[in-house]
């Protein structure tokens, strides 16, 4: 079957035996172990697999390997110069162009090919050359910077030998490292293709798992017969839901989901059975041999359908096994102050309906899990997860194995954005199959399965009212929200609260009321996506506020200034906001965008819009109540002068490991180059609750600060003893400790660590933790939305509307974000740019859409089987912005210095996304005088609204 291919790969002649139906990507990854080339879509839609074949950048996933016989192949692994990474690879690292890094091997190959034929490209040429490589993290901004820096040989921080230190910029005044521009902890490995993501791992005797998925949006399973699949040669194990009967959920008291369906399937794509086989082809064949007898049920595809009288129930029983009467998953109603009175007395009221469509994370790395059991019955699970600890707990529950017998490891992770923040069927199935097969099992989602796993942004319908007095002060907000939850609970109760609880701020509300109702539907489950639950209601708030300003004749920035909260204030729903830099953010974007000279004065078709937002720096409380720290950090010193920092945080590309290294460096004086962060391994690292709700810089940062301080105390004591003085006589400087009373006397930090070990007589090891503080409003639900600190953001967007076609071109976004204190400004800017990109893309392009049923004349005779089908579960039909669609992004860092955060730091990863959508909508108003209240702002909708001459479109 196999044939031998002769290739020259990265300058070496190789012979590789491969089946003729393999692609070049399979030959590289499976045949040659060159895992630097990534698989993101498997169909030529994303560019992550780009390699050079005879010098030409091609998509390895769509290249027939056999057709490349005799060719010269260069992969990302072959780009390095003698003696180290290439200048392009260094530039990507130093410029902060690598976040999750998963798209970057392909991106770097494309960039290298460009520079080899055009050593001095213009920015437009760079954008064009990279337009077939999708990146989901960076907003491309720092990628462009990196390519141009490499071309001009101006790589920031680069030393004569080509290397770049972890911290190369100037620290903020009064700090040793904090505020210095710098690299990320793991980035150069991503740039060179050596970083190992979950799918890059292979174990001896490893089997490949696949999951059979429901073809029906709603059906009862009468029976499953796996005997024919089990009999297929090469099949090692088959599992069904009956073997994993315990329900699970990331929220421990609302388990409504099973590893595989036990009685019903609830959306097209719901998992039904799983197989492990010798290879993927055999696993696919085995799936086709599983016979499932379904009783098809009517499906509900929208909250309207789900709440209609007599609607079929998505779940017959709730998580306490009580019969359900309806499809309402969670309902919340809260009121603060006399809303009706304020509405009655208002000078202006804006009242309307808004619709926020669903969107998904589309991280370029598909989910992947690899499971192996030891002879002692201990499970190791490698998974692309951003919540290792919660996964650990749910694995124990579903697999019926004590937590102490389970180790969860998070390898390098290729983007998450909330899409990997709870357990998924592949993790349970890989483990169950591996146990049954007696060998390691890996399951890699297809891109289509990623769309079914979903947990993306909830579609929300709003009946929204806002009232203001004659001066523009917001006196009331009243919001009635319906969330389309999809088939399962996920974080549902949190999302239901967040849709209301996170809205009051940075705009101050006089009174506030919201009703929020999450409804089950027969579609993939919605969940947390960057800005969990809170991005959607910002759309009506910030666009309605613009309408209020218009009615009152106020400038849109001015009305936001009049309503801006100040540090130390409480929101109307009782949350303390210790720091708030929204005014500084408004000042920054107003000045940079030329707002005063340009807003309202641009030619028809071009406009500016503003919007603001606020977001949590972690949730106040853990998902399951406990008295233990929410984040723990340990530091172990080595005699070499190196510190190893152990943290349970999940670096998902946002750079948490780098942030923690900077904190420990700041405390100890030890250069970040000499700090290694070990993260994401439940056997090695103390618990951190995970990378969600923008909690890591704040909470793990404080834990690292405490551990770092303890390390410094030991080091200072050791230095003091060495010089026979008191600790107060020691000054900690970058890289050295100095005797204040005799400044000629200095010790490098490595020497101090050896003194410390001698002083203690034990290994030098310290720990720190972030402990839960009492926070939140004093009412039921008052702790949801409570956070120790809140970020603030303001955007100004500039758009150009084609009035003949309806196309909205977002040309530029100025985004200022108050992150409290930037530990490493490169990373903060990267979070702002990536957030702006994701929000912009969501505003004009993205829609996680389903067929809702055909008109009668089009429907197939019999049952309409289109109902509930995803319209295009792939990266061609679900469109995320390319380098050519992304606006120029100007990121401004505002530092309000939060009193509680590490050095004043707070979140930067999610807040900066929120204003992009309403800022674009408000800019469309400024450009052409239409108010868009339905997302996304597609050309069809915009043109229809222009034609209607109306203030809105349905």
């Amino acid at each position: 079957m196999k044939q031998v291919l002769h290739l020259q790969v990265n300058g070496e002649d190789v012979e590789v035996a491969a089946p003729p139906h393999w692609t070049l990507l399979e030959v590289l990854r499976y045949g040659l172990g060159l895992t630097g080339s990534k698989q993101g879509c498997d169909k030529g839609d994303c560019g992550a697999c780009t390699v050079l074949v005879d010098g030409e950048p091609v998509l390895a996933c769509c290249t027939l390997a056999a057709a490349t016989e005799g060719s010269g192949i260069r992969t990302v692994e072959g780009l390095a110069d003698k003696g180290g990474p290439s200048r392009v690879q260094r530039a990507f690292d130093a410029c902060g162009a690598l976040q999750c890094g998963f798209c970057q091997p392909g991106m770097i190959v494309s960039a290298t090919a460009l520079l080899e034929r055009n050593p001095d490209p213009s920015l437009a040429e760079v954008k064009q050359a990279l337009s077939g490589n999708l990146c989901r993290c960076t907003g491309y901004t720092k990628i462009f910077d990196a390519v141009l820096a490499a071309a001009k040989d101006r790589v920031p921080g680069m030393r004569a030998d080509g290397s770049v230190p972890m911290a190369y910029g100037t620290p903020t005044d009064g700090f040793r490292y904090v505020g210095a521009r710098g690299r990320k902890a793991d980035a150069i490995g991503k740039a060179t293709g050596s970083a190992k993501y979950t799918d890059d791992l292979t174990l001896p005797r490893m089997a490949h798992g696949r999951i059979l998925r429901s073809p029906h949006a709603h059906a009862r399973i009468r029976s499953i017969d796996t005997s024919r699949a089990e009999a297929l040669p090469g099949v090692f194990a088959v599992v069904t839901g009956a073997e994993m009967p315990h329900a699970f959920c990331v929220i421990p008291w609302t388990p409504d989901e099973h590893a595989l369906a036990v009685d019903k399937v609830r959306y097209v794509g719901d998992g039904v059975a799983a197989v492990a086989a010798v290879d993927e082809d055999t696993a696919d064949r085995a799936l086709a041999l599983i016979d499932v007898d379904y009783e098809v049920l009517d499906a509900v595809l929208s909250p309207t359908e789900a709440e209609a009288p007599g609607a079929p129930l998505v779940h017959d029983r709730d998580w306490k096994d009580r019969p359900r009467q309806d499809n309402v998953c969670k309902e919340v109603e809260l009121a603060f102050g006399d809303v009706d009175g304020a509405l009655k007395d208002a000078a202006v009221v804006v009242d309307g309906e808004w619709h926020y469509s669903g969107s998904t994370h589309a991280a370029i790395e598909p989910h992947c899990a690899l499971a192996e059991w030891s002879a002692d019955g201990d499970l190791t699970l490698w998974s692309s997860t951003q919540v290792m600890h919660y996964l650990h707990r749910e694995l124990a529950r579903v697999l019926d194995v004590p937590e102490a017998k389970i180790r969860v490891v998070q390898p390098v992770l290729g983007g998450a954005f909330g899409g990997k923040s709870e357990p998924f069927d592949l993790e349970f199935c890989a483990a169950a199959l591996a146990r049954k097969a007696g060998r390691p099992v890996k399951i890699l989602y297809t891109r289509e399965e990623v769309f079914y796993a979903h947990r993306g942004r909830h579609p929300m319908d709003f009946r929204f009212r806002i009232a203001a007095d004659a001066q523009g002060h917001v006196t009331a907000v009243d919001n009635d929200i319906v969330l389309d939850g999809g088939a399962y609970h996920s974080f549902g109760l949190v999302t239901t609260y967040y849709a209301g609880q996170l809205l009051p701020g940075p705009i101050r509300f006089g009174t506030y009321r919201f009703k929020s109702r999450r409804v089950y539907t027969n579609k993939p489950c919605c969940g947390p996506k960057r800005g969990h639950g809170s991005v959607q209601p910002r759309f009506p708030l910030e666009t309605a506020l613009d309408e209020v300003a218009e009615k009152l004749g106020l400038d849109p920035i001015e009305i936001r200034r009049r309503n801006a909260m100040r540090a130390g204030e409480h929101t109307v729903n009782g949350q303390l906001v210790p720091s708030c830099g929204v005014l500084g953010c408004l000042d920054a974007v107003e000045a940079a965008s030329g707002w005063k000279q340009r807003h309202g004065k641009l030619p028809f078709g071009r406009g500016l819009g503003v919007a603001t937002s606020m977001y949590i720096s972690g949730t106040a409380y853990p998902i399951y109540p406990n008295e233990m720290p929410q984040s723990g950090v340990q530091i172990l010193a080595d005699r070499s002068g190196r510190l190893t920092v152990f943290t349970g945080t999940n670096d998902i590309g946002q750079g948490s490991s780098g942030a923690i290294a900077f904190v420990v460096a700041e405390e100890t004086g030890i250069h970040p180059d000499q700090i290694r962060v070990i993260a994401g391994d439940t056997d090695l690292t103390p618990v951190d609750l995970g990378s969600y709700s923008s909690r890591v810089t704040y909470m793990a940062g404080l834990a690292a600060q405490e551990a770092g301080r303890a390390m410094r105390d030991v080091m200072v004591r050791a230095a003091a003893k060495h010089w026979d003085t008191t600790p107060s006589d020691i000054l900690v400087l970058p890289g050295k400790y100095l005797l204040i009373s005799d400044p000629e006397k200095q010790l490098d930090t490595a020497h101090v660590l050896r003194l410390a070990e001698a002083l203690l007589g034990t290994p030098v090891s310290t720990g720190g933790g972030y402990r839960t503080r009492k926070l939140g409003g004093d009412y039921r639900g008052g702790t949801i939305g409570a956070s120790p600190a809140y970020s603030a953001t303001a955007h100004v967007a500039e758009v150009c509307v084609d009035t003949e076609t309806g196309h909205v071109k977002v040309e530029r976004i100025w985004a200022a974000h108050d992150c409290g204190r930037a530990l490493n400004p490169v990373m903060v800017e990267g979070q702002i740019e990536g957030s702006v990109y994701m929000g912009m893309s969501e505003a004009v392009l993205e829609d996680q859409a389903f067929h809702l049923g055909m008109e009668k004349r089009r429907a197939m005779p019999g049952r309409d089987r289109t109902r509930g089908m995803h319209i295009g579960p792939n990266l061609l039909d679900y469109r995320i912005a390319t380098s050519l669609d992304t606006p120029d992004i100007d990121a401004f860092v505002v530092e309000s210095v939060d009193p509680g955060g590490p050095y004043g730091a707070k979140e930067a990863g999610e807040g900066p996304l929120h204003p992009a959508i309403p800022a674009v909508a408000n800019a469309i108003w400024d450009a052409v005088g239409i108010r868009m209240r339905t997302m996304p702002f597609t050309p069809e909708r915009v043109l229809a609204a222009l034609r209607a001459g109306a203030a809105e479109v349905a």
Partner: protein, 328 residues
Amino acid sequence: MLRMPEFEVHRPSTAADAVRLRSQLPDAMYVAGGTDLLPNLKHHLHAPKHLVSLARVEGLSGILRAGDGTLRLGATTSLHAIATDEVLRAEVPGLAKAASLVAGPQHRRMGTIGGNVLLDTRCLFYNQSLPWRRALGSCLKSEGTWCHVIGSDKSCVAAQSSDTVPMLVALDASIEVTLPDGSTETIALAGLWTKDGRFERNRNLPPEALLTAVVIPPRAAGHRSTYRKVRARQAIDFPQVGVAVAAGFDGDRLSSLAVVVGAMLPHPKRLDHDDVAGRPLDDALVEHVAERAYKQVRPQPQVHGDPGWRRELARVETRRALRELLPG
């Protein structure tokens, strides 16, 4: 990763061998760049037992200009080469532009002009994985019996989605093919397509025929051409609307005009319009032709985008394409 059906790969070095292999082997298909075929194989839309790769076939690639102005584009010439060739950019600017707008940069390096001419029609109910299609009950173009787009068991409306095809039709191009009996034939491109979008029914060509070259006849004096593409993103996407125009000018008067609309129907649609000879390309004529685009093309929801909006865009983009031909 996604699995393709198991097949053998053959790498002939001559066109004659390629045609012979394709004719003799059961369930065989040609593959050139693979950017269209491989995703379709990963979707199990075809189940070939043999692929005849054209990668090694000699003499199939390259751009030749004859003394009379005839342009001969070898079938495996890459779209990147078409887009960047100086002669083509000067003599048939609309074709170079159309090629430059295909998909993304890597697709244009891999994809060939022959492959782009023979690109399979596309539909939201067709270009999906096998499990997806099975859940749907498949469609008329794949394994099923029903077109979900128009509600019919007779006709497939999957869209002709190549960017170069409308332009080549506007240029009166033809293709050279080698037939199973070894003979070669030249076929006018405009007549290649049927009104049925199904794979083997879409072309008036035996499936074993090998496309070896695209031939563009000498252009009219004062030739100008352009192509406009509507898509949601500025890269990667297939067209939602494509409009190609080619015109001959005698001073500021038209001598000829061809307008071809793509991405709307299973075939490229050449517009019928009033005789233009001797007329200036003035507003009245532009509006006349743009209106014809709207009237003569009725798209369906077979690809992304509201069909009513796409129809409107055919008018807008025809108008814009014509205006691009005006100097200054």
